[in-house]
């Protein structure tokens, strides 16, 4: 349901930040990054390059948050040890 003009802040300013968290962009993905932890050296390059950001350090491992990952593939392209593979979603 759209917000009415009268309910909107001037200039469409959003006074409650983090509203983008409500948009789960994972469904946009055609290819999914899969990390091979036998190759991963935990260099954090994927974490720093992820534009979303949808890669987090979880229990000592860099982990992809598939709820938000759009599958852009930058992490796979930047990984220096080729530990990330882009796998077609339907496969």
């Amino acid at each position: 349901m759209p917000k009415k003009v009268s309910e909107m802040e001037e200039g469409f300013v959003m006074t409650t930040p983090r509203s983008s968290m409500q948009t789960k962009t994972g469904s946009w993905r055609a290819f999914k990054p899969v990390i091979d932890y036998s190759k991963c050296i935990s260099c954090a390059i994927c974490w720093s390059y992820c534009p979303e950001p949808a890669i987090f350090l979880k229990d000592g491992k860099y982990t992809v948050d598939y709820e938000y990952c759009k599958g852009c593939g930058i992490c796979a392209a930047e990984c220096p040890v080729k530990a990330i593979t882009m796998v077609r979603e339907s496969d």
């Binding site: 917000k3 009415k4 469409f12 300013v13």
Partner: protein, 391 residues
């Protein structure tokens, strides 16, 4: 305060200094350069306590002041011609975010061919960006309108950007006696007002977020209505300014429009010349008049329909073109206004003065005579004509 000799550019800079602007960002371009020079001098010698951000382009200049304005600063930028075109994208954003940015525009032609002289092609290309658009006729008016602009832009019922148009070289570089008002009076008339919504690390907000189809239309509607509703504040600001300075300009300057057979409608510095020719032609018994429009956006349609309903032919002087249209941008506006308000007066358009082509007294006579001819014959032969072009 005593009268001093200032050019259009330095008159504007002087007003900006008195308004105690916090952030200035601009990129020099002829014929606006001396304005930026003067402002950077004021900042460098300590006369103005402001942040002057030197940038690599006009796109960055407007982006910088936009951001500073979002953080609550009083800001100023200025440009001309190609520089204004480079700002085009950010102009929409400034209005959409409802930021009270004030910009001086030294109106100049657009390439090609490259040309640094005056016409209104640059500002007319910004028509739909959502800014308040004011035109000045003299250096004094440029000064006065700059002070008014801040009061209008920062008014809580407005919160919109304002551009001040003054003709390149004709006003920017001509020195005229200008009587400023006292510094304290300037800030009393146009005090800095802090908006409720500002960028603040302690209270984070999102400016310029995504407006998906569920939200965009309402956000846009809000900015459109704000521009429409700004009319009242613009009129009020002018009236209040007159009380403290003795000078007010209104929405237009109508001269000899009552009991006239034709009225020449113009924008900007040419207004004074038109009035002089009207005065001379009236002496010869010809019933001509002049209307110099001061406000282009919001367009004072109702007011113009009323004053122009009293004549028999309206001649519009466009210092810009809209190639492929039936006339220039001002003509289209006036024609639509009169038809919409059921004013059955014929309107003809004259395009003149492009790229700094001089509009002399004889040219103005030619324009007014075209209007007289339509008024007496009661028919329009040519809707659009060009004066001063060698065919």
């Amino acid at each position: 305060m005593k009268t001093i000799l200032l050019s259009g550019n330095t008159a504007l800079s002087y007003a900006v200094k008195q308004l105690a602007v916090d952030v200035i960002s601009a990129y020099p371009i002829t014929p606006q350069t001396t304005m930026v020079e003067k402002l950077s001098e004021y900042v460098a010698n300590g006369e103005l306590d402001a942040e002057f951000i030197p940038v690599e382009s006009e796109h960055s200049a407007l982006s910088s002041v936009l951001a500073a304005s979002a953080a609550g600063a009083r800001v100023f930028t200025s440009t001309s011609s190609q520089g204004l075109l480079l700002m085009h994208e950010i102009m929409f954003i400034t209005a959409g975010l409802r930021l009270p940015v004030v910009m001086g525009i030294a109106d100049r032609a657009i390439s090609a061919p490259i040309n640094i002289w005056n016409d209104h092609s640059d500002i007319m290309a910004q028509r739909d960006t959502g800014w308040i658009s004011i035109f000045a006729e003299s250096a004094q008016e440029s000064y006065d309108r700059t002070i008014q602009a801040y009061r209008i832009a920062e008014d809580e019922n407005v919160h919109l950007p304002v551009n001040l148009n003054f003709d390149g070289f004709i006003l920017t570089h001509t020195y005229e006696p200008v009587t400023p008002i006292d510094d304290e009076l300037v800030l009393k008339y146009a005090p800095k007002k802090r908006r409720k919504l500002v960028l603040d690390p302690n209270n984070p907000m999102t400016f310029g977020g995504l407006g998906s189809p569920e939200y965009y239309f309402e956000a846009k509607y809000q900015a459109i209505k704000a521009l429409e509703n700004s009319m009242e504040t613009i009129i009020e600001a002018d009236k209040e300014y007159k009380k403290i300075s003795g000078r007010g300009y209104g929405l237009y300057n109508a001269y000899m429009t009552e009991d006239s057979d034709t009225v020449l409608v113009s924008l900007g510095s040419i207004g004074g010349s038109v009035r002089e020719i009207v005065r001379r032609m009236r002496r010869d018994g010809l019933k001509v008049g002049s209307l110099s429009l001061k406000l282009f956006r919001p367009f004072p349609a109702k007011e113009l329909a009323e004053v122009l309903s009293k004549t028999k032919c309206v001649v519009v002087l466009d210092k810009a073109s809209s190639p492929g249209a039936i006339g220039g941008p001002l003509f289209l506006e006036i024609q639509a206004t009169l038809k919409s308000f059921d004013v059955n007066v014929p309107v003809i358009d004259i395009i003149a003065g492009l790229g700094g082509r001089e509009i002399g007294p004889e040219d103005i006579r030619v324009m007014l005579n075209k209007g007289l001819k339509v008024a007496s014959e009661k028919k329009v032969d040519k809707l659009l004509d060009y004066v001063g072009v060698y065919l």
